[in-house]
Subunit: 343 residues, 4 copies
Amino acid sequence: MKVSIIGTTGYGGAELLRILYRHPEFEIQSIHSTKEDLPIWKEYPHLYDVMDEKLQSINSEKIAEQSDIVFLATPSGISGKLAADFANKDIKVIDLSGDLRLPPETYLQWYKHEPVNEGLTDKAVYGLSEWYKEEIKSSSLIANPGCYPTSALLSLAPVVKENLIDPSSIIIDAKSGVSGAGRSLSRNTSFSEANENFRAYKVNEHQHTPEIEKQLLLWNKEIKPITFTTHLLPITRGIMTTSYSHLLTAYTTHQLLELYKEIYKGHPFVRIRPENSFPSVKEVAGSNYCDIGLHADPRTGRLTIISVIDNLMKGAAGQAVQNANIMCGFDDEAGLDFVPMYP
Amino acid sequence: MKVSIIGTTGYGGAELLRILYRHPEFEIQSIHSTKEDLPIWKEYPHLYDVMDEKLQSINSEKIAEQSDIVFLATPSGISGKLAADFANKDIKVIDLSGDLRLPPETYLQWYKHEPVNEGLTDKAVYGLSEWYKEEIKSSSLIANPGCYPTSALLSLAPVVKENLIDPSSIIIDAKSGVSGAGRSLSRNTSFSEANENFRAYKVNEHQHTPEIEKQLLLWNKEIKPITFTTHLLPITRGIMTTSYSHLLTAYTTHQLLELYKEIYKGHPFVRIRPENSFPSVKEVAGSNYCDIGLHADPRTGRLTIISVIDNLMKGAAGQAVQNANIMCGFDDEAGLDFVPMYP
Amino acid sequence: MKVSIIGTTGYGGAELLRILYRHPEFEIQSIHSTKEDLPIWKEYPHLYDVMDEKLQSINSEKIAEQSDIVFLATPSGISGKLAADFANKDIKVIDLSGDLRLPPETYLQWYKHEPVNEGLTDKAVYGLSEWYKEEIKSSSLIANPGCYPTSALLSLAPVVKENLIDPSSIIIDAKSGVSGAGRSLSRNTSFSEANENFRAYKVNEHQHTPEIEKQLLLWNKEIKPITFTTHLLPITRGIMTTSYSHLLTAYTTHQLLELYKEIYKGHPFVRIRPENSFPSVKEVAGSNYCDIGLHADPRTGRLTIISVIDNLMKGAAGQAVQNANIMCGFDDEAGLDFVPMYP
Amino acid sequence: MKVSIIGTTGYGGAELLRILYRHPEFEIQSIHSTKEDLPIWKEYPHLYDVMDEKLQSINSEKIAEQSDIVFLATPSGISGKLAADFANKDIKVIDLSGDLRLPPETYLQWYKHEPVNEGLTDKAVYGLSEWYKEEIKSSSLIANPGCYPTSALLSLAPVVKENLIDPSSIIIDAKSGVSGAGRSLSRNTSFSEANENFRAYKVNEHQHTPEIEKQLLLWNKEIKPITFTTHLLPITRGIMTTSYSHLLTAYTTHQLLELYKEIYKGHPFVRIRPENSFPSVKEVAGSNYCDIGLHADPRTGRLTIISVIDNLMKGAAGQAVQNANIMCGFDDEAGLDFVPMYP
């Protein structure tokens, strides 16, 4: 299968290259960016002598002709327009941005810029691979989930779907590495100000809030607005979501872990940790795993769930390739057999 | 005033030296450790040519004779025994460990080792400087608060005391730099495994839980068990506590900030941030400040409070010196006028 | 004495504020920047509740009237013009940039922009405090040394002046924290690309090369062009220079250390480490110290000198204040009694 | 081919697992350690659900019977003894330690413990893959090179062999990430003391000095003792060696780069950077590449060479697998097609 990448110079694009370069089924057909004609290694010297490809301009007509799949690793606001361009062409589209994940009015409210046409968002399948595998298989347009939502949703799905927690009690305290902010420059992501630092940002305003709520509601219509706080970790890669909720019945940690293991059986990228073991972000670095640990506290009746992913892998490019695998009928793990890089 | 330090080779001890070296009212009389006769700069080369003092053995008789104040920067389990030794001597004692903060049975349950005599804990005043100033002033034995409790309690006190939040709704998601784990070696605090990593630890089992609950209950007897999660940040210094609770009435962010400013007026080390500004840990590094920002979310009815301290300063040595200042009738800020080191 | 700062929003300016805020002899009269009217804490939230000052426009007439000393913490290219403005006014000027350190033609060659008038550079005294104390005392215009040159020159001065090394053999391998690159944004200083990374930059092209050579030649006219390599460390503060040279006679490490101690006797900010002890950058963090360790290797006949400073302190703002102290007849250490912040 | 690993719980062992898990030609037969019976994921949770293998005791008889290749990832002092055990057995042995790299008397002098039998070191082939491919192919005992020597030797080989530099002028300023120090705990490698720090260590005493000198002398018998300084970088992975030497004739940077490209043609893991481009350590992270950039300075007549590797890959496990590939007649790149993980 021939794949193309648009928006190759961002971190999502670079990670797609890292994966696709050695993917057994996909071949990189072309890479695109506004930095036309630049060899990719000039933008990313780690690719020197690995890839000679030059960045090409973004010509959707030509891309659709030459490729079977296109990954949109472009920013919100641009991805949506490109997805519309590709809408009636014979090509599978996977959009890594937030443009296709929300209904237009919600998008406008949280993203503060023009939404895409409603028809397009209706057509797009939400690419949370473990939960929408059948829909992904038969779709040609994927809204690849956000990094925070992937970690939060995979870790909350079982208790939300099984109605085990108070639907008005969900609080998600999330922490992300700096690469999640992308490659554009800003003071808060400059080394001197992010290093040896830790900050909360977009408190109660993060655009991933409605994305998480939308999916939780699809699983359990009683879910009430969640509290979602995002923090910037002084690391490059990795997300942890620490979720709190009130258990409706006094399930033990053991019982809940059994449930999680049962639900995620056959899903190789979700690893449910044994009792008293909680994952750290480095334990999934460079891999497509989502690791989940949890503890039910009899003292408070609350459930604490710890979930980690590599934000550029399962939180972006890794899940995008997983979805491409599913769309093409390949094994979920094709080209994604990265063992976490530790230490 | 002549001061001595016991347990000088830990990070709390080293930070006491940094502060006391240039304190206008205190003079370092002697420093003590089990590493008898070692010049302190051999243990801490950053003190070379600054301090020539040698570490001395721990002789409480002699220390009490020669000093006006003694800081116990020794580990839990040892501090309590030393505090008992000094109990009937004419010397002010400030213990930085957890040994004097809890009733014996609670201590045993959470610390898993032998508590001190109940009489001693009864006598000790909890040194949360901003809230127990009068008691500290007239005491000769201070249980200096833990790092996490200092950040959590200063940020929760106003809404807990004023009964503005649901007393059963408190969740504290806490993050600490590695120096909080002390100077003894462990795999989780080794560079290769803590760097580029983030982990939760002691989930629902951290020994600061009962310390926080005890104080909250003193302020509001309706308080129910809290959920308290601790995480290890890949930074050396700094704590952030992100606290969640349910507002009983629909106070606005603005109203709450006004309340906080009113309550902390005259307390120079608590800085209440303006609306839409949230503190980051680097913004207090090396200083004795506790910075607090908050947001009341009308969507959820929840209050999010962000509070940061330098765990070795306001979370340990800084607050200890602040308490010593109070005990001796000096200005809170004496010797503590450190501007945060940024960047 | 009343002092003003121009270029307050850069890291050098912020560090001047940290020092001057608690300096016993200097009072901050006014702070200046192109960001007129902005309260400084909006630019630097760590100063919230500490300093209420607003940034003022740069009016040299008014500054000279109201202040005794002005610090130019402005970038190269701007500082020189400001220094010219102040040249005939009754005010002491300390320029932290490179604009006054080199003869015009050399400046043009290495800095690639317009030099200041030669008269001005001739008038400026090179503010390497330990070596030009008398000249600084009687000057009103100081070219404050660069960060790398400070570390390199203090550590090479004794052997160069005493003619102990082959004058054509000097190689300086230098490493700096990211704050040395200033506060303007760039890809190489963004967190995601500087973190967990280490890179050489400006190989054989760094503008501090001629500054170092100029001073070495003043001490020993046989000195030949040096090799000087700069690298970017993934830390915020700190410089290490590792210098290599060939010993002309077989001095031992011990003999050389004795010489260094003798030469730097009475200079409190230069700490000569004992044999077999080499300084690390964290051991001077936040302080004005320059720590030096060395080793003469009988196997090779070469001398290795390790020297560390905090680039924002002894490498910029700290030395600038030290020079201001000297100019005003105060003790070198006035307001600079910072114990290194460790860990 | 069936491979076994002894010393699996160190970082070299863990990295071997990461590589071998997905190697197309090798199958992990058994893993060994003194921590008998422990499932490997309990030691390394990042391997949870990836590898179920238990650590086995070290029985050389049984290992030799069941495996075709054994990797010794054990510490110096232990590896040598194990290599002797395997000496007469029908198994290929690759030792990652320093035990087989030096003649006994040199080993004793620099490593300060008992050397192995001279016959064994004589039999061992030095596994610098690019330079000893033929010898490796026909050998059954490999002394896998040290991390620093790999970076230094690959970058110096062309000019040393071609006699382009003054043989008495070599200075290597080396910097390594903390994982190079292994997994045992020490104060200098604890997070709080290594983070935001940079230190020189073992100045003129590092045990890799004679290893580098031995190989340089094999290439050019005029080589004199080198100066070699090692520093600890606050990163987990990565080595940079910055090498200085005096050019005998005035070769240009361009000419030297052409020579390097010519010499390393056909060696996929050595990437010679174009003029004015210097590699950073992150640009090879997680991969088996050694990237080299250089600059000949007409001002000084000196050559500066910058070389980077991932110390756990090309500096240890990666090169070990490359050697195993060579020994078995596989492509050098088999199982080593990792694109660097950036950012």
